[in-house]
Symmetry: C2
Subunit: 348 residues, 2 copies
């Protein structure tokens, strides 16, 4: 067992509180140089570290944050987590990671356990629209930041990107390449990114004067399998789309592999655009055109907003929205990979 204040106090012959003040460098402490140096020597010798639990109980703060995401196996969330840790670690915080696999129940139970543990704040990236868990966090006044997805527009501190704009840019890119039958592998209507990206897709079509065909919008969700199935449905239509805008890269990867399997050439027979720019997007052949989402920066920024809340005691309720950027690769433009490949591959 690690050494305690009382044990040290007994060895020096002073009161534990004196050791504590020396260890914490209490400026108001008046102490003889002799005693101080004896204590300091002992502190070094024993490598004394205050018991974080006792400290947490007294100070009402744990120096722990939590990150709740669908799945860390998804590179987007892994990068997000790294951002959080990189922001939190230098400030002395540890980070608890929880995966929900997209289940509201698991999210709820994780949050319950995290609040029982009294983490100082929570970063949530697995949120649904009008999410009861988020409302509960808000009501309990637990410092939190939503990332990537939000629950009730504007009510919580949020870090994300402009999903409508990103989807619009992606769709306009396809339109500009001459595509007129552009399909959308959509996210669930219960998730903000699903709704917003679909909205951006529709807005781009409307602005371009293309009449949207409801049959061209298929709900694929955010996983490869859904993207594959959706693509099979789309490609089996009598009036096939020539391009697909997918709600995220994994769905796009599903489209990608179905197209390959069916012997369609990308981008000539089918152009594909994804969303998020996960590392895999640059590795596919051809590379996947996608909307870049700076996941690592999300994590850093979310941590900043969270620590602001924690340290000020206020809820600044700031919303930070990044402007998305289209990354053009070979899945929409022939040859777009050539220039990128050597440099990109070497720098990673």
């Amino acid at each position: 067992m690690p050494v305690t204040l009382k044990q040290l106090a007994d060895r020096v012959g002073v009161h534990p509180s004196t050791i504590s003040r020396v260890a914490n460098n209490d400026p108001g402490l008046r102490i003889s140089p002799a005693t101080r140096s004896r204590i300091e020597a002992l502190l070094r010798e024993t490598e004394y570290r205050p018991n974080g639990i006792a400290r947490g109980l007294k100070l009402q703060q744990t120096l722990a944050l939590a990150v709740v995401i669908p799945d860390v196996t998804n590179p987007l969330f892994a990068a997000l987590f790294r951002g959080v840790e990189d922001g939190a670690s230098p400030r002395g915080y540890n980070v608890v990671l929880c995966n929900t696999d997209g289940s509201p129940d698991r999210q709820r139970s994780h949050l319950a356990s995290l609040t029982a543990r009294r983490v100082d704040g929570v970063i949530l990236a697995s949120t649904f629209l009008r999410d009861p868990s988020v409302r509960w966090l808000r009501q309990q006044r637990i410092p939190h930041v939503l990332v990537n997805r939000f629950s009730d527009d504007g009510l919580d501190p949020f870090v994300g990107s402009d999903d409508v704009m990103g989807a619009k840019v992606a769709t306009q890119h396809l339109y500009a390449l001459g595509h007129r039958r552009i399909a959308h592998l959509a996210g669930q209507p219960t998730v903000s990114t699903g709704v917003l990206r679909r909205r951006g897709y529709l807005a781009a079509l409307a602005e371009a004067g293309v009449k949207a065909d409801p049959k061209l919008v298929v709900e694929s969700g955010y996983v490869e399998d859904g993207g594959a199935r959706g693509t099979e449905r789309l490609l089996s239509m009598r009036d096939r789309p020539t391009a697909i805008f997918a709600v995220n890269d994994m769905a796009a990867v599903g489209a990608h592999s179905v197209a390959r399997r069916l012997g369609l050439r990308i981008p000539d027979d089918l152009a594909v655009v994804g969303y998020n720019n996960i590392p895999l997007a640059g590795r596919l052949i051809p590379g996947l055109t996608t909307v870049h989402v700076p996941a690592h920066e999300f994590g850093i920024m979310a941590t900043r907003l969270l620590l602001e809340q924690i340290e000020s005691g206020q809820r600044p309720a700031r919303q930070v929205v990044f402007q998305p950027q289209l990354v053009v690769r070979g899945s929409t433009v022939v040859g777009a990979d050539v220039e990128l490949a050597p440099a990109a591959l070497m720098q990673e």
Copy 2:
């Protein structure tokens, strides 16, 4: 602020200890049914959850584990973490995640902060040979399990795979395909996997009666960039290798892309074998032949060993070693991808 025992006690008019006993279902408690039901009603109404910090202080356990890895952005470690969480979460434990980026200093400081926090146990996958941090954990009698890499052979509970055997099988595979100049992109000699895989590579050559050429072993480390550089060196030799066995998949990916860039055909001009079987390995074109390492199972098993230690108070010091399995893909055998691709792509 969440409700405390004392507040509840005041509302019911009993002593806090009574509430505690009811909440914890103390079997030795004698209480009138009337009082009990009033208390239970209040517990439900207020959704009382004991303060985990106070509980931890009293009970000397935090119900928190920690996972220390080089980088969660690496799919191998992401899968490992999922295994840990999947094993720990149902037992009521939360998991703190720490990334070291391979720096012994960051590992040390994380470990210091984790022990100050009094996590109940640590799972370490970022260990070096003769690692001072590990020796310190051992000496402090902090429950821990090493995963994938070990520090001092046999002294700590460990979960991993037979690295010598895996490397041997990989090298034998290349030999069986007719390769005689087989190079090795090696890991650092400070890491057990680096040493063991190199040993397996050399053992396979020796058994096959091939004289090992020291020039064919280049230290690449575990990252793509190192693999790329190492491969450039190997391919610029007058007597080029026809095959490369890389210490892990990322290094192999580096080899892969350098070969492509130089216009070499894989596997005809250069065969490549990796290690770990990360998801990307199956996505490359051609697919990367590699040694499968069950990262998720590692995590589950490591958690089991750790919880055993924690709950028994003993150190069973069990070592669990999985037998590695070679996954043959197109980077060594032409056409090996064909049969796999459709099924593999669909099932994910």
